[in-house]
Structure formats: structure tokens, C-alpha cells
Subunit: 310 residues, 2 copies
Amino acid sequence: MVGDRINEREILKLAAAANGTLPQSILIPPGDDMALVQLPSSQVLVAVDQVVAGRHFTAETPLDLVARKAIARNVSDVAAMAAIPVATLASVTLPHSLGAQGARELLESVRKYAAQFGCPLIGGDTSVHHDPQGPLTLSVTILASPRADGIVVTRHGAKIGDRLIVSGPLGGSFAEDGLGHHLTFTPRVAEAQGLADTLANELHAMIDISDGLGLDTARIIDASAAHSGFAMQARLSGGHIPCNRGHVLRHALSDGEDHELLAAIDGRAVVPAGWTDIGTIIERQVGDARSVLVEIADELEDATNLGWLH
Amino acid sequence: MVGDRINEREILKLAAAANGTLPQSILIPPGDDMALVQLPSSQVLVAVDQVVAGRHFTAETPLDLVARKAIARNVSDVAAMAAIPVATLASVTLPHSLGAQGARELLESVRKYAAQFGCPLIGGDTSVHHDPQGPLTLSVTILASPRADGIVVTRHGAKIGDRLIVSGPLGGSFAEDGLGHHLTFTPRVAEAQGLADTLANELHAMIDISDGLGLDTARIIDASAAHSGFAMQARLSGGHIPCNRGHVLRHALSDGEDHELLAAIDGRAVVPAGWTDIGTIIERQVGDARSVLVEIADELEDATNLGWLH
């Protein structure tokens, strides 16, 4: 909760609260980057993620980049499960001001990026706001397929002794003018596949860093602690966290929208090329409520809530 | 197109325009009630449909019924493919005015109706509008499974000589006070299953009547003509079209949001109990652009565009 708002974490909790009534075909229930559903003889992963004007992008953002962001955020969720994108659907609520030409431009961009990222647009729904002030809302649903070896990487598989690794530099994704990396990032699907190929079952947990390294690390820790019953704590090494050029550690920990991957891998595994070791998972002491600590200049700081909830 | 707006038909056309580039795993591309996707050893159907305040419901509509409508519309798409609901995801953009309590009430209702209609809520995304005037938008994605016998009923399988049948009475769904049948209808999943059980391959095409009997009949005709290469025309018998109490034929033809099913079945098949025979499909004459004609008091009227586009 941020202020008096209800957020994704809460909707997922709410849905998860009813998990007792979910059929056995829901193999991974709400709470991870994607849900996993058992069909008669296959499994399919599915997730939905939206961008809203004024919230996820500024009114000045080119429509082409709005479409790109909506698709790329969803593909990033697929990467986080080490899955393969299959298809997308788009649900758009258009402002009056956009006009039919703007609407077509937006949808053509959605189609283009969906195809480019390997998940063709196969359905959609559009409405025009009745209220002249209604903002552009673009919600994308993505379907994905598990790897052929059946490995699906959740948030909840991390273990005490694991290493934490990231796929790239963090911080400053959302520039002051509203532009920046959050509009142009490449989802780490190939990197995730490479990691799963190399590590197989030594790849314990993964998440895409959408809300900030602190918050997203806490999500792995909390989900894995709940799943395993072992109290855990992440211990990050501030000096090892890769920062984007021009950005300090504080931004890397808090900014969000980087959409790099954070993975927990077996402590005995070799860190693959291209990934950076940023810390370990240790046992959490009784009475310690902190999920993520970061070592900065010989001090331990609580990073559990460092991040940005939309 | 209604005025200068872009509508679902157009977004689907736009997506379909790129069908040449769609992979073979997309078995039913954009343009039907749902898309059908081939996974390694199963098929999954998927669709998305949204409701927007001021467009699909009035500001005075109880949140519980808003949630019900959003779920039921999607389940109705599943019924139209003669498929089985599997799971849903919800994407919500909340107005400031709703508050956290209203948001929770809405989401709890979404969860409740999703469970009730056999498609548990397995994921979601929520945002709060930045603009204080931003209206409530609730977009639902639904996953469905084809029947065990593999029959999936599209819009495009109708043939010359087919009978057209409907599952129930039409008209007046959207009452003047904003309430009405569009908020309380039961999606015809069981009726569709019964029809497919009875008729098997004699069930040629089906659609749910969401935008008006005229328009939705034209969709079956146009899709089937395009698919088969035969010019077709629906000839409806005005006197046989079942009307809801207090509503005249004009409403039954135009109002939309009934969410009864319209099916094209083999002309030699017996019309099953509970369904009403309302017409036939004939060959369309060269130079005749009309897809749907309705016989009213010995006159033939063009009903091709009778309906309501949101």
C-alpha cells in the first residue's frame, strides 16, 4: 500500500487469499511474475500488465514508445520466469484527444513490437473514454510457454546460501523529462534462457527488477521464506551493485523500471559471464524484520522498502 | 467505425492485416470471439474484453455488478466458441474517488464472479489514475480450453442452407436507468456445450450477441463468406425472433448486450430444445451488398448495420 491506494501486491494477495478454492490446474497461483496453468497436456504461463498516462508515462511520450513499453514490460515478466513468449492481447482505452489517426498509430506500434519480441498480437479490445479527460490506458496480456525441459523459475525457490546476481546495470531508468531506459529497454529473455541452459536446477529463483532492487529483492526473500519455512535475509554488497552511468547506488537500489533480472542461484554455482554477483542469502535472525540489507561503506542499511510502487 | 473512432472491429482488422507474419501456432487469428493458440501438446483459447465507466456502465452502477459484467462478458466469449472457461486475469485502472475500500470491494467481486463462472482469477494489475477525472476501467482476460472432442466453433464456418438459431430472447438489455439484463445475464456456456454435444460437426458457426442481432449476424455472414468464398446472406424471419418482455422487434435487432448465442447449424439438423429458429442462410445475389435481411410484415428490411458499437 502506498498511502490509501490498493496496489498490485494487494490484488495478488486478495486473489491468493482464495487459493484454497483454486483448482489444481493453477500450478503457480497469483503472486509471481506470471501464473502457470495446466491444460490437458501442456502448461501455459499468463500475465497482464498495463501502462496509464500520467502514471507510467508522461503525456509527451511518443505513442510508439508507449506501445513499446507496454509490450516490453510483459515480455520482461516472461523473461523472469525463464519462459518463451507466445502471444499478446491488448486492451486500450483511448482519450478523445488522440483521434482515430493516433489510435491507429498506437495499435500499429503495439502490433509491431509484439511481433518484434516474438509474441504476436492475437486479440484486443478498444474503448474511447466518455469523459473528455480520460487518459490513455494500455493493458497487455501475455501468454508464454515453459521451456522444453519444463523448468519454470518462480520467485519462491531461493535458499539460504544462494548467490544473488543481476543481468545488468541499474538506476535512472525514468529520466526527468519522462523519457529514458524505461521506454527503450530490451527484455532479458535471451539472458534468462542462457542462465537456465547453463544452471538448470541451480537457478533457484528469478524476478525482473520493475519496482527497485530493494523491493524486488525483498519479494524473492519473502516469497522464498514463506514457501520454504526458513527465515531468510538478503545481504547485498553495495560496492558490487552495477550502476548506470551518471547514477549513484541510491538510484540503483530505488528507481525501478530497469527491467534487468535478479536471480538467486546455488551458492556453489559459477556466476555466468554477463551476470554480476551482488550478494548472498543468509539466515535471518529471530526478531530481525528486515528482508534486505545492503553493505555501504562498512555500514549495513535496510533496503527492504527501497523502491517505487506505481 | 462510429464517427471518428477506432473500434474493436478495426483493431482486429489491423492485427489480422499482419496475419501473414503470424506463426502457425496461432490457429484462430484475431477476428473471432477468441484466438486459439497451439501449445506443444494442447490448445488454449484467449480473449480480452473491458468495461469503462460512462461507456459500458453508468457511474451509479454498483461495483459488484460492474465486476460481474466484466467477467460475464468474457465468459460469454468462451460460450460462443463452445469452449470451457479456465482462468481470468484482471487489469484495473481506479479513479481516485473510489478509495482503497471501493477498490477492495471491486476486486473481491471480480474474484467472486470469476470463481462462480468457473474461471478463477489468477493474476492482475492495478493502477490509480493520475488525473482526478480518470474513470474506472476494468479489463478482463480469459483463458479457455477446447472441448475434449476438439470442436472449436468459430464465426466463419456457416454455409449456404444453414439455419440460424438463438438461445434466448433479445432486446432492452441496457435499461434507461443504466441497470438491466446487461449486468445480470448468465453466459450461455452450458447451452453451448449442450448444442455441441447434440450437433457435433453440424454446429457450423456461433457468436454471442453483444452488439445487436443485426450486426452480429452480419459478422457470421461476412466471416463465413470470406472463409468459404461463397457470397451469403442471412434471411431472418421477424415474426420468429424472440423479444424480451416489453420490447419490440426493433430492440431485439439493435440493442446489443443480450449475450445470448446465435448459431448457424446444418439445415438438415433438428433445432434442439431451448433454441429458436429465426432464419436461414441463402446465396447472396451479385450486386447485393446486404449481409442480413429481416422479413417484417411481408417487407424485407436491411438489418446489416442494426446494432450498437461501444
